[in-house]
C-alpha cells in the first residue's frame, strides 16, 4: 500500500541554448528550416525562455526571422495552421 509517486519519465533535463556551446548552430536568415523551429504554428516568434536561448542570440534570431519574413521565405502570419 505504499504511496506511489507519479513519475514523469525520470528527471527533466535542463534545456540549453542551441546557439551557444561546442555544437552550436549558426543563425542564418536563409536557413528557413532552422528558423521554423523557433516560431509558433501561426508564425509568431517563440519567447526566448521556451528554448532557453541566450538574450544576445535571441536578438540575433529575431533579426534573422524578420529578414526571412521580409524576403517572403517565411510568412508574417499563417492563418491556415
Amino acid at each position: 500500500m505504499a504511496y506511489e509517486k507519479k513519475s514523469f519519465g525520470g528527471p527533466r533535463r535542463k534545456k540549453t541554448c542551441p546557439f551557444t556551446g561546442p555544437n552550436a548552430q549558426t543563425i542564418d536568415w536563409k536557413n528557413v528550416n532552422m528558423l521554423g523551429r523557433y516560431v509558433s504554428g501561426s508564425g509568431k516568434i517563440a519567447a526566448a525562455r521556451m528554448n532557453a536561448i541566450k538574450p544576445a542570440k535571441q536578438r540575433e534570431l529575431t533579426r534573422a526571422i524578420k529578414r526571412a519574413r521580409f524576403m517572403a521565405l517565411m510568412p508574417f502570419v499563417r492563418e491556415d495552421a
Partner: protein, 133 residues
C-alpha cells in the same frame, strides 16, 4: 573592403535569361567599382510565403561580393529602380559562407516533422516549440 551578400527576388514571369541579366548587372557594377564577386547562387523560381505585387512566385538570386561600403547605396538604388525586382536585401557578412546556402538543400533536410504527411495528424500550434525543446 567589406563582405556583403545581396539576395533579390525577380518577378515571376521573368525568363531565366532576364534573371541572369540582373545578376550580371550586379556583378558588373561590383567589379567596375573595384569590388570582387565571391559567388552567385540561383535559387530558382520559389513560391513566396505571401503575395508581393500580385506575384505568388519569384526568382531568388544570391550574390556574395566584397566592395567598399559607400558603393552599396548605388547598388541598392539600381535594384530599387528595376521594376523586375520585387524585393532585395543586402547584409554585411563577417566572412563568406563556406558551403552553399541551406535553402538549396532544404528538401533533403533531416529535420522534417515527425508525422507523416497523409496520416491525418495535424500538429497543434505549440508542437513546434516542444520539438525545439
Amino acid at each position: 573592403m567589406a563582405n556583403y551578400e545581396t539576395v533579390f527576388i525577380g518577378r515571376q514571369d521573368l525568363s531565366e535569361a532576364q534573371v541572369k541579366d540582373i545578376t550580371d548587372n550586379i556583378s558588373k557594377y561590383v567589379t567596375t567599382s573595384k569590388g570582387k564577386v565571391n559567388k552567385t547562387e540561383n535559387w530558382g523560381l520559389r513560391t513566396l510565403a505571401y503575395r508581393i505585387n500580385k506575384n505568388r512566385k519569384g526568382h531568388y538570386v544570391l550574390v556574395e561580393f566584397s566592395c567598399e561600403t559607400d558603393k552599396i547605396a548605388e547598388l541598392e538604388r539600381q535594384l530599387r529602380l528595376n521594376e523586375d525586382v520585387l524585393r532585395y536585401v543586402t547584409v554585411r557578412l563577417e566572412e563568406f559562407a563556406t558551403e552553399q546556402s541551406a535553402i538549396l538543400n532544404a528538401s533533403s533536410s533531416d529535420d522534417r516533422p515527425h508525422y507523416k504527411k497523409d496520416s491525418g495528424y495535424r500538429p497543434r500550434s505549440n508542437d513546434k516549440d516542444r520539438e525545439a525543446a
